[in-house]
Each structure stands twice: as structure tokens, then as C-alpha cells.
């Protein structure tokens, strides 16, 4: 297992390297330099000041050199300064990161908590009619725009603000209960689509596993239905579900960006949007880099969980 983890961690390096290249060079494609944009908002500068500004904005060297220097600074935790506020980028992002992660995590949990039990239940009551219904619900989940769902929720609960607090955001560390109540609707809006997809996968996977010989053996041994389903069937049926849930974290992370805007939550997505509206490129670069890294790590964790649940993967690895 250790060798497998080490191998997978090493394989991340070239991917993250590539991500950093894209994030750096795409921003360089923008017509007009960051310095020009900055100067547009400032008074005239003397030639000496211009040279100094060029050095600060990193426009005094060839682009590949700038990339290496930029990457070096990033690796030391220096993400540069916001073009608008002049403050360092990283602290601003780190203060908003926990909310976005909490939203993503909560929506994933809701999706699993709703999707898996529903999938199991519907796999037990099977008929042609429920086949179609489950398929349509699963596809409908894929078809709902998260931001529309969020808007409808705001609409529906606008008159019940006492039940779901909507005002200023309150951190989990300050008041956990109030925090969770605030994030319930946003997480539902992000995760409910995935819940429908997970339900469909759980159901299909269960249906497949329930036909296997070892399930018949377990039943024949006289085990209760409960034990057969939860201990024997679910354990194998859950594998594809883990993969689906893990790889859809990108969908949840992207959803969080939009949903933070709808519910006016001060997360990283909202920061990103304002940075985009204001053309604040260092902030955009840092956030894109951050989210992509989180996404890559989540995919790694998904693979590792998969490997832990399914011993065959480790065996394959040891044999190589």
C-alpha cells in the first residue's frame, strides 16, 4: 500500500507542473500587460519609477525566466499581490478557502447520504416501471443547473428566513449550528444533482451484485436479508459509486463557485468572480491553481480509497 501511495504521489508532480504552466502562460496571452492595466488606474510615473515598476511586475525578463521565478515564489507560498487592493494574495484566499471546502464537503456528504440509501432501496423493489423512473430521476439530476436550483430555494425560503438564516455569514468555529443551518440549502443546491446520479449508480451496481452466486450462497446459508444486503452486497456494489462520487468533486467545486454567488457567501468562488470582473490576474491565477490542486488531490484520494476497499488493486501493484 505504501508503495502504491508513493507511486501515485510522484505521478502528481508532472500534472501539477503542467497545471502551473497553463495557469501562468494563459494569463500571459491577455492583450495588454498587468503593468499597463495597473498604470491605467494610477498617476503618471517617472522613467526611474517605470523601471522599478517593470521589475515589480516582472516585465523586465524573458517569459520562461519569469515563469521559473514565479513558480519558485509560489512554492515558497508567495502568490504575489492583488492588483486592486495591493495586499498579498495568499492570506485573502486562505481566509476564504475553509468556506468553499466546507460547502464542497457538505454537498458531497449530502449527495452520498441521499443517493446511496435511495439507490439500495430502489434496487430491492425492482420492476420495469421503477427502472424507467430511476433512470429519469438520475438523468434529471444531471440536467438541473445548480444555480437555478439555488435561485428556486432562495425564492421558496425567502419568507421563512427565521428557519434558514440568510444574513451575514457566520463561521463554523463561531457558531457551528448556525453555520450548518446557513450552509444546508447551498449544499443541497450543489449536491442534489450528484445525489440523483449516485442513486442511479448505486442501484445499477447493487442490481448487478445481487445476481451473483455468493449472494445466493449467503441467502441459502440463512443469513438475514439485512446482513446479505449491507455486509455482502453493498461492500462490492459501492466500488463504482466511490469512483463516481470522487470524480464528480470537480462538479461540486465548480458548483460552489456559482452557488456562493447566489447565496452571497464569502468563499473562494466569490473572490474569484470579483477578481475576474476586476481583471485582478494574480488573484485569478492563485485561485485557479489552488482549486486545480485540490481537485487533483481529491482524485488521488479517490484512487487510494478505491485501492483500500478493493484489495485486487494493491495485488496488481505488488506484482509489477
Amino acid at each position: 500500500m505504501f508503495r502504491y501511495i508513493a507511486k501515485r504521489l510522484l505521478s502528481l508532480i508532472p500534472v501539477l507542473f503542467g497545471v502551473s504552466i497553463i495557469v501562468f502562460f494563459l494569463v500571459r496571452l491577455i492583450p495588454g500587460s498587468a503593468l499597463e492595466m495597473y498604470m491605467g488606474t494610477q498617476v503618471e510615473a517617472t522613467p526611474e519609477q517605470m523601471v522599478e515598476l517593470q521589475r515589480i511586475f516582472g516585465e523586465d525578463k524573458p517569459v520562461p525566466v519569469l515563469y521559473v521565478e514565479w513558480l519558485g515564489r509560489i512554492l515558497q507560498g508567495d502568490f504575489g499581490y492583488s492588483l486592486r487592493t495591493g495586499r498579498p494574495v495568499l492570506p485573502d484566499i486562505l481566509s476564504r478557502l475553509p468556506l468553499s471546502l466546507e460547502l464542497t464537503l457538505l454537498s458531497l456528504m449530502l449527495a452520498l447520504l441521499i443517493g446511496i440509501p435511495q439507490g439500495i432501496l430502489s434496487s430491492l423493489k425492482r420492476n420495469p416501471f421503477s427502472d424507467v423512473i430511476n433512470r429519469v430521476i438520475g438523468l434529471l439530476g444531471l440536467s438541473l443547473p445548480q444555480f437555478w436550483l439555488a435561485s428556486l430555494m432562495v425564492l421558496a425560503f425567502a419568507n421563512f428566513s427565521g428557519w434558514i438564516p440568510m444574513g451575514n455569514y457566520i463561521k463554523f468555529s463561531v457558531d457551528p449550528i448556525r453555520n450548518l443551518r446557513m450552509l444546508l440549502l447551498p449544499s443541497l443546491a450543489i449536491g442534489i444533482g450528484l445525489a440523483a446520479v449516485i442513486m442511479r449508480y448505486t442501484r445499477n451496481s447493487m442490481l448487478e451484485v445481487l445476481q451473483m452466486d455468493y449472494i445466493r450462497t449467503a441467502k441459502a446459508k440463512g443469513l438475514t436479508k439485512r446482513v446479505v444486503i449491507l455486509r455482502h452486497a453493498l461492500k462490492n456494489a459501492i466500488l463504482p459509486v466511490i469512483t463516481v462520487a470522487g470524480f464528480n468533486t470537480g462538479y461540486l467545486l465548480g458548483g460552489a463557485i456559482v452557488i456562493e454567488e447566489v447565496f452571497a457567501l464569502p468563499g473562494m468562488g466569490r473572490l474569484a468572480l470579483y477578481a475576474i470582473y476586476q481583471r485582478d490576474y494574480p488573484v485569478i491565477q492563485a485561485i485557479v491553481l489552488m482549486i486545480a490542486t485540490i481537485f487533483v488531490l481529491v482524485n488521488l484520494v479517490t484512487d487510494l480509497i478505491y485501492a483500500m476497499v478493493d484489495p485486487r488493486i494493491r495485488l496488481d501493484d505488488g506484482g509489477r
Binding site: 500534472v15 503542467g18 494563459l26 444555480f147 437555478w148 425564492l155 425567502a158 485569478i284 481537485f295
Partner: protein, 280 residues
């Protein structure tokens, strides 16, 4: 359940999907030469009117007095064109990359697939938002942004399909008969990877509509006053509590069309790819 009723269900799913898409194409066609009202011009006398037969505003009016039904109809053209163009871009470039990488193998395969890996490291919506932030908010750029999201997906699928048939007997036979690479690609490889591609195209069209509406909702896609379902919902945010119809109808328009493409793609996958028949 026997095979017959199974395939009947599958066909009806494909047909339902096609029917929904057909309705939208019909609406798009009608909207090019007839709309109930002008979708762009403002009418201050009829701001936020509730849906009613008497006024002729069947879906009501928005905060500028514009007819919502007319804007949804006009928006169907914009959404459909963007998602078709973006999917086409992703399909052409991605498939070219994937076929090239899969057929040639070796160094090119490595380089192209690593590029795809890197593009896969960005959540789709984030990548699209990032590209829009760089290119600027223009309708045409939405096509590029969504197309870029699709390139690695099509590259991976077509490469996988090419790899599975590359070493098969009939390709070897064609080679030993002296067929050129171009001929083999055209006549033997491409027809055989069409099945997974068609399914992917259909599912991609649905995601493209969601991505376009998300971008437009955030103000990064189609710019007002041109109507797109996403920016209509964005405008509705300020007024939806007093005029819920501004938020409800454009959303239903999105959901139904996306569902149509999803039904089509899902049903086609069952029919075309027998290996996935047990996925219901």
C-alpha cells in the same frame, strides 16, 4: 425482464430525447422569423407583468417589460448554436488529437495524453470560467471556452477506441495489403470509433448548455441585452421574489433541453454499446 421490453424501453428513451430536441429545433426555426414580441426592446408600461392570456405575455414580462416567452425562444437559438459549435470544436480537435496519439503511439502519444491529463486537472466550470476571464466576455469566446473543456474528453475517448482496434486482425490485413496510413484511418479506424463518439457528443451537448447558462448567469457568457437563458436568470435574481415567473420559465427551458440530450445520449449508449446494456 426480457430482451424485447428492454429494447423497447431503450428506444422510447431515445425517441423521447429526440422529440424534446425536435421541439426546441422547431422553436428555434420559428423564432428566426416570428416572435410574439420584440425580445430586446424595453416597454416601461408593462414591467414585471404576471403571465396572462389577456395581455399576450404568456410567460409574463421581465424587469424591463420584455416578453419572457419571446426571450426564451430567441435564447434557444443562442444556446443551441453555442453548444453545437462548442461540441463540434471539442469533437474535431479532441478526436484528431486522440486518433493521432493512439495511431502513431510512442512519443506523440505521451505528449498529447499528458496535455490531456493536465487539462483534466481543472474542474470543467473552472476551466471555462478561467478561459472566459482571459479571452473576455464575448459570445464567440464562450464557444472556445467550452470547446477547450471538451478537447481532452474527446481525445481520451477516441484514443482508447483506436487502441482497442489498432492491433486487430483486419487492420493488420489492410496493412499487409499495402494500404496507406491515411486510408486505414479513414476507412477502418474512424468508422469503428464512431459509436463511442456519437454517445459522447450527445452527452456533451447537454453539458455545454449547462456550462453556457452558468457562464452567462455569472455575467461571463452571453452579454445582455442579447437573451440567453443564463443571463435571463441572472437578471431575474433581483426581482424574482416579487415576480417568480422571471426565474421559473427560463430554468425550465434549460432543464428540458438538457434532459433531452441526456435521454438521447443515455439511450444511444445502451443501443450502440452492448457492453453497457446492464447499466439502467
Amino acid at each position: 425482464m426480457n430482451m424485447k421490453s428492454n429494447s423497447l424501453t431503450r428506444n422510447s428513451i431515445v425517441m423521447t430525447g429526440l422529440a424534446i430536441i425536435g421541439v426546441y429545433i422547431a422553436i428555434m426555426a420559428v423564432s428566426t422569423f416570428w416572435l410574439p414580441f420584440d425580445p430586446v426592446s424595453m416597454d416601461t408600461d408593462h414591467i414585471l407583468e404576471a403571465p396572462s392570456l389577456a395581455t399576450g405575455h404568456l410567460f409574463g414580462t421581465d424587469e424591463f417589460g420584455r416578453d419572457i416567452l419571446s426571450r426564451i425562444m430567441k435564447g434557444s437559438t443562442i444556446s443551441l448554436i453555442i453548444s453545437v459549435a462548442a461540441t463540434l470544436l471539442g469533437t474535431l480537435v479532441g478526436t484528431f488529437m486522440g486518433v493521432w496519439a493512439g495511431y502513431l503511439g510512442g512519443r506523440w502519444d505521451n505528449v498529447l495524453m499528458r496535455i490531456a491529463d493536465v487539462l483534466f486537472s481543472f474542474p470543467s466550470l473552472l476551466l471555462a470560467i478561467f478561459v472566459m476571464a482571459i479571452l473576455g466576455e464575448k459570445t464567440f469566446n464562450v464557444v472556445i471556452a467550452i470547446g477547450i473543456v471538451y478537447i481532452p474528453q474527446f481525445a481520451r475517448i477516441s484514443r482508447g477506441a483506436i487502441l482497442t482496434i489498432k492491433s486487430s486482425e483486419f487492420i493488420k490485413a489492410a496493412k499487409s495489403n499495402g494500404a496507406s496510413s491515411g486510408f486505414i484511418l479513414r476507412k477502418h479506424l474512424l468508422p469503428n470509433i464512431l459509436v463511442p463518439l456519437i454517445v459522447q457528443v450527445s452527452l456533451s451537448l447537454s453539458v455545454a448548455i449547462l456550462l453556457e447558462s452558468s457562464l452567462s448567469f455569472l455575467g461571463l457568457g452571453v452579454q445582455p441585452p442579447a437573451p440567453s437563458w443564463g443571463n435571463m436568470l441572472s437578471g431575474a435574481r433581483k426581482v424574482m421574489v416579487i415576480a417568480p415567473w422571471t426565474a421559473i420559465y427560463p430554468g425550465i427551458a434549460i432543464v428540458l433541453l438538457v434532459l433531452g440530450f441526456n435521454l438521447l445520449g443515455d439511450g444511444l449508449r445502451d443501443i450502440l454499446d452492448p457492453r453497457l446494456r446492464n447499466v439502467r
